[in-house]
């Protein structure tokens, strides 16, 4: 079976940062593979190692800079990668769920995978919605927030555990093909080996444009407009304990003792 993994590069923000209009100033930004997608990639690579998957393909909606992250996925064992982007994507101030869904659905239509893995959420935008939206778009089954997966390709089903709130798991069977949104902790993501990193350089990383997938600019623009960005109004009433580490620790110790912490008897 063929497995497609949606991999996104997330923007990370420094401890101290400044907002400039509708964005955080570039100086304070970094990039990383989305934490949830690391688990999705690992799950797919393990399916390949177990002989269940014949091919693992990654799909990313992102600019050329995202290729570093994509190479990481290849270094960890994905076979090839597809990256979707054009100037319209770059111009959109917010790629909403609808836009990402349409673009990823375009890749699904081309690749026809038997299983699509996404993360539960992207660590930056955190819509928590792209996977399930994608399933509805391509007309297949799905399961959200999966922390255990057993595939039965002969029966054409997947048995999953869905992690609900409060330490309750739901045991569910879905028909294949399906999109599963993968939760952290489902496996232990590997580090890329040196050999993996080297071989990733020669793996196919194809760039396609939305136009080539038949996606209109209006779809990419979507209906959501980012009109404001601010640091949350901190109603924080925290007493900040200042000074050197020793000084602040001493102040905290006094606060704790007042509350009976660490006091004998």
């Amino acid at each position: 079976m063929k497995v497609l993994v949606a991999v996104t590069e997330v923007t990370t923000v420094d401890d101290e940062f400044e907002i400039d209009g509708l964005a955080i100033d570039d100086r304070y930004l970094g990039a990383d593979m989305n934490e949830w997608d690391e688990y999705a990639v690992e799950e797919a690579v393990q399916l390949a190692e177990d002989g269940v998957a014949d091919e693992v393909v990654t799909a990313t909606v992102g600019p050329e800079e995202a290729e570093e992250t994509i190479r990481q996925a290849l270094a960890k064992g994905a076979d090839r990668a597809i990256r979707v982007w054009d100037d319209d994507c770059a111009a959109a101030d917010l790629l909403d769920v609808g836009a990402k869904t349409a673009l990823l659905a375009g890749v699904v239509a081309r690749e026809e995978p038997d299983l699509v893995l996404t993360g539960v959420q992207s660590g930056d935008a955190g819509f928590m919605a792209t996977g399930v939206s994608l399933a509805a778009d391509v007309g297949c089954q799905w399961a959200a927030v999966v922390n255990d997966l057993e595939l039965s390709p002969e029966e054409g089903t997947a048995d999953v555990r869905r992690e609900l709130e409060g330490g309750v798991e739901e045991l569910t069977t879905v028909e294949l093909p399906a999109v599963l949104t993968i939760q952290t902790g489902i496996n232990e993501p590997r580090y890329a080996s040196l050999r993996g990193i080297r071989s990733a350089q020669s793996k196919e990383l194809e760039h396609v444009t939305p136009g080539e997938l038949g996606i209109e600019p209006a779809t990419i623009e979507g209906a959501l407009r980012l009109i404001g960005m601010a640091e949350p109004d901190v109603e924080s009433e925290a007493t900040v304990l200042e000074g050197s580490a020793e000084e602040s620790a001493a102040e905290l110790a006094a606060v704790l003792r007042e509350r009976g912490v660490g006091v004998e008897g």
Binding site: A136, E163, V168, V240
Partner: protein
């Protein structure tokens, strides 16, 4: 598409026989929104004991309760069909649902199938024009999103709106639905409680809770030493448990335990919403974190903006 009605349709949530608290918060958000659009608030309960759920969902501000009797527990295929049919019936301007694990298992599918714009995990709403506030970058910033459409689907974050608990006088209307079985491709086989272990962190008076700031499994020693010095119990945020450094029973948060100790000391924890859901009821919250903009600072009573590897050893010394 012609203009929708000014009405708001909110889909309540239940699990294993109980209407979940967030449903009462949904009513508050829904009636505020319906107040702004000048429409009615419709609430729907789908599957399970809909009569009982329907009585309970009949809160002040609700105009109509729709009960859809098909199915027992939540099944996303049944929900998708039911909510699509309800949208057709009510033709609402706004569709509201909780931003819960189950909400996120059907709402994005409904939005996509009906080609409606979707804004998830909303913490504040202004209507006409619709502007939804939501966080980004793990709660470090808040964004305002305007929806350039006369319809929208919104999922709301739990705990952001107060619950409406007064009984209302809505009409309760059974909604007849023919489920298309050929479109049901998933089945729920059961539930399992997880996260046992040898300690019960919910019983502890003092918790020293460790997060990803600890960086390495070996460094956990420091946290155990601090807990010993304070006579406290060790708990953790999710990444520590995901990495297998501590057992699942020690995880605090949405998918772990809800704790309310006298003192909760968060060490190297950013305070993601799913973590805070499990500890915000603590009497006194202490945060030790190098990042002054970490969301944990918003709920902390005492904060140290410094390196845990400096502060924790000094604190241990204070108690030895």
């Amino acid at each position: 598409m012609s203009a929708p009605s000014p009405d708001v349709l909110a889909i309540a949530e239940h699990r294993r026989g109980d209407l979940r608290d967030v449903s009462d918060q949904l009513v508050t958000a829904g009636s505020e929104l319906a107040g702004a659009t000048g429409g009615d608030l419709h609430v729907a309960v789908v599957s399970g004991d809909v009569e009982a759920f329907g009585r309970k969902a009949n809160r002040e501000g609700v105009d109509v309760v729709h009960t859809v009797a098909d199915g027992e527990e939540f099944n996303h295929d049944v929900y998708v069909q039911a909510v699509e049919a309800l949208v057709e019936e009510v033709d609402p301007r706004y569709l509201l649902a909780p931003n819960s694990v189950n909400g996120l298992d059907y709402v994005p599918a409904v939005a996509r199938r009906l080609a409606l714009p979707l804004v998830t995990d909303v913490v504040d709403i202004e209507a006409e024009p619709l502007v939804a506030t939501r966080e980004m970058y793990g709660g470090k910033v808040e964004t305002e999103i305007e929806v350039a459409d006369d319809r929208a689907v919104l999922t709301i974050r739990a705990g952001e709106w107060p619950a409406t608990t007064d009984t209302g006088d809505a009409s309760v209307e059974p909604f007849e639905l023919e489920i298309d079985e050929s479109r049901v491709g998933s089945s729920v086989n059961g539930f399992e409680e997880v996260g046992g272990g040898d300690v019960d962190i919910t019983e502890a008076d003092v918790l020293v809770s460790v997060g990803r700031g600890i960086d390495d499994e070996e460094n956990l020693e420091l946290i155990h030493d601090l807990a010993d010095a304070l006579g406290a119990t060790v708990s953790a945020s999710r990444p520590i448990v995901d990495a297998g450094w501590l057992e699942k029973g020690r995880q605090v948060g949405q998918s772990g335990k809800v704790v309310t100790p006298d003192v909760y000391i968060a060490v190297g924890i950013s305070g993601a919403v799913q973590h805070v859901a499990g500890m915000k009821g603590s009497e006194t919250i202490v945060a030790i974190n190098t990042d002054p903009s970490a969301p944990i600072m918003d709920i902390a009573d005492y904060a140290i903006h410094d390196d845990l590897f400096e502060v924790v050893p000094a604190l241990i010394e204070e108690f030895e």
